[in-house]
Symmetry: C3
Subunit: 138 residues, 3 copies
């Protein structure tokens, strides 16, 4: 069994931002040399997400509006967590979007349907944060 | 390490429908011959879900009502994604329900609690769509 | 390839409760002897969750309030599932929080960011329920 590990670093310009990280994940997979196995991609921070969906800007605006409806940022004072923090909403938004994805590796490639793309979802950004890539297989 | 891959195809009669796919997944597992490992089951489409819960019709109606409350289909015009599409709500519903499940394989069986069943959740159906089954182990 | 399996049992004092199970999961990992691989931790019951977030009591209160807003327990009669049951809300809450986590194992440790902790989220408690730990790797 082979294993591979890499950290990817991201720093967004805005508090909330979605970044398509599929090319970086494909580069990790190539580097690993694994042909058959599983790849885990997870946010290492608890106010960010890794998820799979469509790379379509209208949908990304819909995510922003919808997450703000489900778990609004403001007023900060509505959350018990926000005594020395202001990011309780980011913990909840990340919960909706998910921490991690597990993707099949087949013949050395991400085994994806036609529109699947991997995103880093940042909900409390403007600072350096990490994504972990772990691959196991052969 | 053994690996196994199969695509399962589904076409629902309705836009939204939940299908218990546990028997198909068990058949894949038997076919793979894997005794100890992990099985990944994921939707290959971004408006569908694979999730684990109870096979109880009242609960399935509750899911329908609840998802429509969290991310209503209508009016289609409320979503930025719906310019040439009408399925933004399906992307959001699938996000709540999740893309994938990872299940332990122990002694050649799905290592499940008493009520766990695997479902394909379709939120933009009435056409052929796929689920990926990937197994790794020994 | 090594594999390891263990069931952990929990019984909460309240209907809804979050328990930090990171020390138990670390003990399983040590016991397994696996240095590189993946660990799956999942609820074996469909009204409970395993998820990763911050061990901060204000945030945990925010989760309680937020989940009650998204999927209120009362009145029980609002759910089709609640004919002989009263826990439909717990199925929905667990859906938001997720069934399982998959965590990378690197050099014999949970490969975590600075604040990641694993929680058992109980939404229909006050009885014995199980979490499954499955490890594969080398």
């Amino acid at each position: 069994m082979k294993s591979y590990r890499k950290e990817l670093w991201f720093s967004t310009q805005k508090r909330r931002q979605l970044i398509n990280i599929t090319p970086e994940i494909e580069a990790c997979l190539t580097e690993s040399g694994v042909q058959e196995g599983l790849i885990l991609v997870n946010a290492m921070h608890i106010t960010a997400s890794v998820f799979i969906n469509d790379d379509e800007s209208g949908l990304h605006q819909d995510y922003e509006d919808w997450l703000e409806r489900l778990a609004p940022e403001l007023p900060h004072s509505q959350y018990h967590h926000n005594t020395h923090e202001d990011n309780a909403d980011a913990h909840l938004k990340r919960t909706v979007m998910g921490r991690e994805v597990v993707v099949a590796i087949t013949e050395g490639k991400l085994d994806f349907g036609p529109w699947e793309q991997i995103f880093y979802g940042e909900f409390d950004g403007m600072r350096q944060k990490r994504v972990l890539v772990k691959i196991i297989g052969e």
